[in-house]
């Protein structure tokens, strides 16, 4: 049975961000971060225009620490940036409003969390070199307030109706059947727990490779839709038996303890009213019109 939503009642609001710069700490702090074994490393991290990584690519194997695919944007003051981060929804249309790539269109693919607070947007690779640092990007935000008929206790967040309608969610035996690429057990959730679920990211932990293999998590791709067991992201992120959360892989793996691939949460419920269905094609590149 097809899902019904309150899509027609949602408000479409423009929010703006600018292409942001990479940032590193100042001296005398050393530039190195520590990997999960305590070894120092210095690699590109969040922010900016990333020219050679896109949704659909592997989340593993890059010489990088939680890289955002495509373009990352931020608003110049903190409250305005909260507006950008809360209202932007995965699947929303993004338009470049200044610079050589003006009028190019893309879509939101994720968000980043504490310490960076950026919105991640996909644009085709071939136009990325035309995008300049500081270029303005407008998001036609719609999705906050989304409710699913007969599932009022499912909290939708950062989820555009456009993406939800393409996710092939169906009702079966009073439960939402949700196609996902991977199922993540709650004990492999790391950074992000305890923080807000209205924006920001929650990270899979990847330091224990045997657990990664056991749960077949080594082939996660950017843009994959995933399901987290026993996890409640209704208001903030935290453990709760029988709760569940569904999200999208927004950023790559990283070497730090607790910082594997990042997840932007799309839906969550405190009760056992959903069932994941493993479907390898459950990735945003198969749901939204996509030019690599």
């Amino acid at each position: 049975m097809k899902m019904k939503t309150n899509e027609n009642l949602l408000v479409n609001v423009s929010v703006m961000g600018s292409v942001c710069q990479p940032n590193f700490q100042s001296l005398p702090a050393e530039p190195y971060r520590l990997d999960s074994n305590g070894n120092p490393f210095l690699l590109p991290s969040w922010g900016s225009v990333v020219h050679n990584v896109s949704v659909g690519d592997s989340a593993f194997g890059w010489e990088a620490d939680c890289i955002h695919p495509g373009v990352s944007i931020k608003y110049s003051n903190e409250t305005g940036n909260r507006g950008l981060n809360i209202l932007s929804c995965v699947g929303n249309e993004a338009i470049i409003m200044s610079g050589d790539a003006k009028n190019a269109k893309g879509f939101v693919t994720g968000k980043s969390g504490r310490f960076s607070e950026q919105v991640i947007v996909h644009f085709p690779k071939k136009i990325r070199e035309k995008i300049s640092i500081n270029d303005k990007i407008l998001i036609k935000s719609i999705g906050v307030g989304l409710k699913i008929s007969d599932f009022e206790n499912v909290f939708c967040k950062s989820l555009s109706p456009k993406l939800f309608n393409k996710m092939n969610v169906k009702i079966s035996k009073n439960k939402m059947n949700i196609p996902v690429a991977h199922i993540i057990p709650e004990h492999l959730i790391g950074a992000g727990s305890g923080l807000t679920s209205e924006s920001g990211s929650l990270h899979i932990q990847t330091a224990d490779n045997s657990e990664m293999k056991k749960h077949k998590l080594n082939n996660i791709k950017l843009g994959d839709i995933i399901y987290i067991e026993n996890y409640d992201s209704s208001y903030q992120h935290g453990f709760l038996r029988n709760a569940w959360a569904v999200g999208i892989i927004g950023q790559t793996n990283g070497p730090r303890a607790g910082y594997g691939p990042g997840i932007t949460i799309l839906m969550s419920s405190k009760i056992n009213n959903a069932k994941p269905k493993i479907e390898t094609k459950a990735n945003i590149v198969n749901y939204i019109s996509f030019i690599k």
Binding site: V19, Q21, V50, N52
Partner: protein, 323 residues
Amino acid sequence: MVIKLQYTFLLKVTLNQHQSDNFVICNLKQTSYFNIMNSTIKTNEGKLIKMSIGGYVTQPSFKNPGYIPDNDGKSVIYPGMFGVVNNVKVGDKAFGWAGDHIEPGVSIDSEKINEHFALHYLVCTGNKAIVRSGDAKGKVGIVTGEHARNLIHFDQKTLDKICIGDQVDIITHGRGLKLIDFPEIEIKKIDPNLLKAMNIKVIKGKLIIDVAIELPIRIMGSGAELNSEYVDQDLMSGDRQLMKKLKIDEMKLGDLIVINHADHRWGRSFKKDYVSIAICIHGDSVMTGHGPGIMTIMTGKKQYLGWSISRDANLKKILKIKK
């Protein structure tokens, strides 16, 4: 990525003894010692991130009253750092200018401190630079090194159009670059294309890099206080007679150089049997403890990393930079 290597055929050649005992080819008196390992060097280029970062053309700046002390304590005043240097370019001499710490070409930076550090930690020599604002908008240059700011070469026509404050974006590429078959050698801040263009040989399991000049470790000065991912280290040019004797005063901006017994992995320190390869990035200085600056591009143990002297080992030639 695969680097095409030049084969070397140096059979039973008696080579001139170089000033260092680490000149690997000097030891190869018997042909049986020769062992050209393979014709390719594998890297992890496919796993590296290409990421944009923006900087702004800087304004020459002085602290009041602008004088600096030379080696004899005399107060002098010179241009050199910051800004657009219109008439000194990579490939030109490093010594002899009426300037101090001359940064060839265009120096860019960000006044936001965390962006300043990101510029230093992500930008690699050989990276592409694109002017984003002003009359030179759209013009493309190439990163030629890192001093207190990032240094970019543009052709003369472009230089004439660049204004202080113009935004220049760098497509950074190279951070995390590794040599798959030489995990003991650390690569720092070079574009994979620069690595491919350099003259590198593998002899008897050891990587041999063409460099223009060897610098003795005891003349390495200012910069030892910094981590080796940041800025550069100056050679101390105060002993002018030694500079002449070792022909260091013939050094050019963009020269590849080597320092024997220098470990630049986590800082810049003396360590026996470590070797560091670097690029000369700025001109000479009159100040004690200072001189032309070098930025590290490779460092590792002597058993894996060696060098061969070639006066042509300069960025201008390697990157085919045109004036």
